[in-house]
């Protein structure tokens, strides 16, 4: 008994000290002097631009990574080919690589002095220090989530349901839409939530490729850092709170979506009870 309480205390204390307390304090500091300073901070044009930019990048990166992630998971689970193990390992690369390294790598390819630099320059296309590089960096770091969530679900459902749909006359596309997609939608949902959170919170890679130009290429995370360095603590706290609220909203929306669709558990219990 004592050991059990000890374990529980250790787990909760760990969470309190490292998670709840710091995040709680950010909220507390933000509203410490009432809504006035908070309001000033959230109406600051630089803040608003950073917020818009963060949302815009997420709106581009999340759908792309979702489509790519599902396609990639299908290839990994349903197809056999040489080099599959390499592809599988490659997908985890963004997990293993520090975002700063990702930023530098993109820099090497797309900057004026980089590989494609001269060609891009000649055609008047700006990638680095502009939105395209920021989107690329964000896509890179948030790429594995949907794949990693969908692969195990696809493995588990197997191919029989799809084959049954074919014999009933459903085309491959129709089968994907009517059978595969509903079967993997929870995997996709969790993948999207994680991808979104990662996109909103990305700092390192974007910091390298964006140039951090205030009101131009500054995302919310960069804005937080910038305000913090400038001793505008309320500004930093406010932006942090908004980031946290955005992430919470994503979770909330996903839960809402989840409640709307019926979910029936199957398993041996249901089997036995109703035989």
């Amino acid at each position: 008994m004592r050991a059990r309480y000890g374990l529980r205390f250790a787990a909760l204390a760990y969470l309190m000290l490292l998670l709840v307390l710091p995040v709680g304090l950010v909220f507390f500091r933000t509203f410490e002097h009432g809504l006035g300073p908070f309001w000033t901070a959230v109406t600051d044009p630089d803040f608003l631009h950073a917020l818009w930019l963060t949302i815009l990048i997420a709106l581009i990166a999340v759908p792309l990574n979702t489509i790519f992630g599902v396609a990639c998971a299908l290839v990994i689970v349903r197809q056999r080919f040489r080099g599959k193990a390499v592809l599988n390992a490659l997908i985890d690369l963004p997990f293993a690589l520090s975002p700063v390294v990702v930023g530098l790598a993109l820099f090497l390819v797309y900057a004026r002095t980089g590989w494609f630099g001269p060609w891009l320059d000649a055609h008047g296309i700006q990638i680095v220090f502009a939105l395209p590089a920021m989107v690329l960096a964000t896509i890179f770091v948030s790429l594995p989530f949907v794949v990693r969530e969908v692969v195990p679900v696809l493995r588990e459902i197997g191919t029989e349901q799809e084959e049954a749909a074919w014999t009933l006359g459903a085309s491959p596309l129709s089968t994907f839409r009517r059978i595969t997609l509903p079967a993997i939608r929870w995997g996709i949902t969790y993948g999207v939530v994680l991808t979104t959170a990662r996109c909103l919170g990305e700092f390192g890679a974007v910091a390298v490729v964006s140039g951090n130009l205030i009101g131009k290429t500054q995302t919310l995370t960069l804005h937080v850092e910038n305000r913090f360095q400038a001793f505008d603590l309320v500004g930093a706290y406010t932006a942090s709170v908004v980031l946290a609220v955005l992430a919470l909203m994503t979770l909330f929306l996903m839960n809402l979506f989840r409640k709307e669709t019926p979910r029936v558990d199957s398993g041996p219990q249901g089997d036995e009870a109703l035989r």
Binding site: E160, G270, L274
Partner: protein, 319 residues
């Protein structure tokens, strides 16, 4: 012929799943593809359905070439061992799936689905999800779903394999009755010889990617074409170069010239059947199946000396 398979070969890597197989299945029949695991029976069924492409040979369904046609266009109904229920759809939506794909009018779909649910005795469960059904109910739903699109042939891949023994027996009898009502050409894959004999009017017995024998259940039992067939469709004793079914022995208490001496090792009572295990003088062991009445008359006990005589033996030409 409803289905004709001609010289089909299918390999998976180095493994030859089907080795130059030809088979013809008569319209309206219920045929069992019987064989041990790895004999190619499921692969053959999947080749007929178009779920596997054969490396060589072709398949005809109702006289039309089906080779190269995708499963969508073959007009086959397929039922899987693990039901392949669409878990996110209700029983009604599962059964209606093929009709919806064909864009039939809603009223017609409703009527047809009600009819089928009645046929498979699931009328009260239309709004349930597959997760709320038992295994036997799920498999009946899968059958209704396959029948909904009025397939030219119905293909069942170990349909009762995942069910417990009691439900399996019930469903077998039920399938037999269903086939009498619906009369669609049906091919059933099974590794269970009793199931094949119980349900099918013809058996195609397969082994190692080849067909060993095709015929009525009784023909296979009484006139097996090979040692493999004889051993697979029923129990068998080897006696020198010949093979004897356990019920084809006569046990006597006195010698009569043609009988052999044996010692009773064990008597096992299995209700109506009594199994007598015997040892011949050379140490070779055989077993004999007696009825309870026969055994009561003989009053056999272990250790007793008796005389056995095979009444019917089968000898196969050496291959």
């Amino acid at each position: 012929m409803s289905i004709a398979v001609r010289r089909v070969t299918k390999r998976f890597g180095n493994f030859v799943a089907l080795d130059n197989v030809s088979v013809a299945i008569a319209g309206g029949s219920l045929t069992a593809l019987l064989g041990p695991s790895g004999s190619g029976k499921s692969t053959l069924l999947r080749v007929i359905a178009g779920l596997e492409e054969p490396d060589e040979g072709n398949v005809l369904i109702l006289g039309e070439h089906a080779t190269g046609l995708p499963p969508q266009k073959r007009g086959v109904g397929f039922v899987f061992q693990h039901y392949a229920a669409f878990k996110h759809l209700t029983v009604r939506e599962n059964v209606a799936f093929g009709l919806r794909i064909r864009k039939r009018p809603k009223a017609e779909i409703r009527e047809r689905v009600d009819e089928l649910l009645e046929l498979v005795q699931l009328n009260g469960l239309a709004e349930r999800y597959p997760g709320q059904l038992s295994g036997g109910q799920r498999q009946r739903m899968a059958l209704a779903r396959a029948l909904a699109v009025e397939p030219k042939v119905l293909l069942l891949d170990e349909p009762f394999g995942a069910l417990d023994a009691r439900v399996r027996k019930e469903l077998r009898a039920w399938l037999r009755r269903l086939h009498e009502d619906v009369h669609v050409t049906t091919v059933l894959v099974t590794h269970d010889q009793e199931e094949a004999m119980d349900v099918a009017d013809r058996i195609v017995l397969m082994n190692e990617g080849r067909i060993e024998q095709t015929g009525k259940p009784r023909d296979l039992y009484e006139h097996p074409a090979s040692e493999f067939v004889m051993g697979f469709v029923g129990p068998v004793n080897r006696l020198d170069d010949s093979f004897v079914r356990p019920h084809d022995f006569e046990i006597e208490l006195e010698p009569n010239g043609t009988s052999r001496k044996a010692i009773v090792k064990r008597v096992v009572h299995l209700g109506f059947e009594v199994r007598v295990e015997l040892a011949l003088p050379d140490g070779h062991e055989i077993w004999v199946q007696l009825s309870r009445d026969q055994n009561e008359y003989l009053e056999l006990e272990s250790g007793q000396t008796v005389f056995v005589r095979p009444e019917k033996t089968t000898v196969f030409e050496p291959v």
